[in-house]
Symmetry: C2
Subunit: 404 residues, 2 copies
């Protein structure tokens, strides 16, 4: 008789955003007259930029002709896209990453979830608390996290690095030595950032203890401060200790288009085995490439028109984030984030739990946000709102929240 992977049964509850979706559906069915404003899940709302639309139409036309048709994509992704990435995202920032170290994929979520596969089940992970749930859940499914304590909401074999008001939502080096360290900056969910000097400390630490940093830079387009690194490879020594995940979802609105990439420098070794070769093997065996049309759309992100249009789109969302932050502050809330990141992180008022505030906000303002506790125990008492709505909805949401 076949058996299932019992690790799946250890996962407490359902995926955070699925739970939110269910709650919102229930509310909508009971209150069909209310207009819900969603500032919860990090989904974007602005249409694709004209440069991207043009590129997609051209690629679709190609696919309809004998000469222009493209079948299976090359394993690492098309050279035209990897070149554009290497030039614009790395070379331009003085980061020494070549196009052959870039693996194009259908998004950072999948890559973040799958990367743990190339590591031993014995490896111990360290995560920020609060944290994007995918890092932990994918390790739970693999059986790397030990047992779950419902009281503390923690796994026995995970090293938690609390990100709190006290440390400005930036983690300190862990006391216990981890093998794999998940970091995400600009941070989801807190909107916190890290300076280049602070990140250098992590790179030096990882090289010293023999750990790998799994660096999620999905929100790098939202950085405005000079001293905040856009890629971990701006730090010296990162090529021997860091893997970087990047997304087109937030800088170009590709949440429904699906494109991302992972960088694994060829210097990142475990003895005489390169992690690059392991990931290449996984990519070749278990994945079949991002669509040609969508890789062309990714190329357009780096065109002069694309850059111009997307700069305006990012500014639009950041204006929303500022609107939320300033609106909440003027209403007396304690707020952080929203400067180098599209996420605003607020302290729930009157000692409410995160889920109590979720219900309170849904019922009284018909606004959907994300409970901080859904991201980890240190998120309890916090709440995430995003700048990814429309400006009109964002204004309306703040108006309603102020009225509560």
């Amino acid at each position: 008789m076949f058996k299932i992977n019992e690790n799946y049964l250890k996962l407490p509850g359902s995926y955070l955003f699925a739970t939110i979706g269910k709650k919102v559906n229930e509310f909508t069915q009971k209150n069909p007259d209310k207009t819900i404003i969603r500032l919860g899940i990090g989904d974007v709302t602005q249409p694709l930029a004209p440069a991207i639309i043009n590129s997609l139409h051209n690629a679709v036309d190609e696919m309809g002709t004998q000469e222009g048709f493209h079948g299976y994509a090359p394993d690492l992704g098309y050279e035209f896209l990897r070149s554009a990435i290497a030039k614009n995202d790395y070379e331009s920032r003085g980061a020494n990453i070549t196009k052959d170290e870039i693996f194009v994929s259908d998004g950072a979520k999948c890559d973040c979830a799958n990367i743990q596969e190339i590591f031993s089940l014995d490896n111990k992970i360290a995560v920020c608390d609060p944290v994007y749930p995918v890092y932990v859940d994918s390790n739970v499914m693999a059986g790397r996290t030990g047992t779950y304590d419902a009281l503390t909401e923690r796994w026995s074999d995970v090293i938690y690095m609390p990100c709190t008001k006290e440390n400005n939502f930036t983690p300190e080096l862990p006391k216990e030595t981890p093998d794999l360290i998940y970091l995400c900056f600009p941070n989801n969910p807190t909107g916190a950032m890290i300076t280049k000097d602070e990140l250098q400390v992590w790179v030096d630490y990882a090289n010293k203890v023999g750990a790998v940093i799994l660096y999620d830079a999905a929100y790098e387009a939202y950085i405005s401060d000079e001293n905040v690194p856009h890629t971990i490879y701006e730090c010296e020594g990162a090529r021997t200790c860091a893997i970087e995940f990047r997304s087109f979802s937030k800088n170009a609105g590709f949440t429904g288009v699906r494109l991302g990439f992972t960088v694994i420098p060829k210097d990142l070794m475990c003895g005489d085995v390169s992690l690059h070769s392991l990931w290449a093997r996984r990519h070749g065996t278990k994945y079949n490439g991002a669509p040609y049309m969508i890789q062309r759309a990714g190329e357009a992100v780096y065109s002069p028109e694309g850059k111009e249009q997307l700069k305006a789109q990012v500014a639009y969302y950041m204006n929303n984030a500022r609107t939320i932050k300033e609106g909440l502050q003027s209403a007396g809330y304690t707020v952080s984030g929203g400067v180098n990141a599209p996420y605003v992180w607020l302290q729930t008022p009157d000692g409410m739990t995160s889920w109590e505030f979720f219900d309170y906000l849904l019922n009284n303002a018909n606004v959907v946000g994300t409970p901080g506790s859904g991201f980890g125990p240190s998120g309890e008492g916090y709440f995430r709102l995003t700048g990814f709505g429309t400006y009109e909805n964002t204004l309306e949401a703040i108006k309603r929240i102020k009225k509560m």
Copy 2:
């Protein structure tokens, strides 16, 4: 110090099609004047059908407008696509599968490779020999296959079901009881088919011994015989023992578009845990949906125009397969497949090994095929050619082979 997943190091050599790619590149560099004809990897060559191109353009236009923009797709896929699949691929064949049992994805290869994750590492797999390499390799990476014996080219913990001339390339029930049984019909690589009565025997067996059949039906569009099932759910009892993988790559030319789906009936249980719920959890946590535009393209596959145009496309490739089969037969080769499948399976002449014939064909006819031994030890002495080339190239390839 971090450690890698040592199972990856057990994989012998590189992924089959990567090896072929390297050999062809080397030949091309040494012989820049030769025109290579590729009938190796199962990649299609015909442009996307007009109904699909139209649908893609419309969806791209939508994505450029505020009202038509689509962000993250629903976890299971868009309802419009799942409905079309349920109606056309299942209801129409008397198979009782509902739209909520369908998980839309970016292709059957990924799903076939990832499905093993929801099962225990203790489960024993059974595979046909020869077989599509992804089934075995994904289990090797997970650590489910024991040790590799280079002499027999077999894994100690895998049950092999030889498919040979003697059994008409259709496996017999294994002597040892497996937990997971991979079956693929119409078969890749042999082009063999299975009748409904024969498949019913497997379904009854799986229900009796408590095994799950992982049924890869990526080539169902190529079926012409009446008694060959298009889906395993045409068999009675399949809802309690079978998972089915389907692809748009070969019926609609989506190898570079990326779309597929997996069916997990809600009756498929392990005790009180449904495999549907486990896969839903995996899908939600480690995947982020197929692009909206591409799900619309999938919908167009089921439109009246789409069906008409794709019927012609399938006929085009099957005409190629027939051309190969008849050409080889008239040249004295022993050949099977090519009737309900786009693959032609030939016995190598003069006692050559599969790789010897690969080199012989490449050097003397400049034609690329796939060595049968790359699919498993029982494939030794065989060779796969595909009908997925252009008609002109297929004719030319046969002309060159006849001249050898």
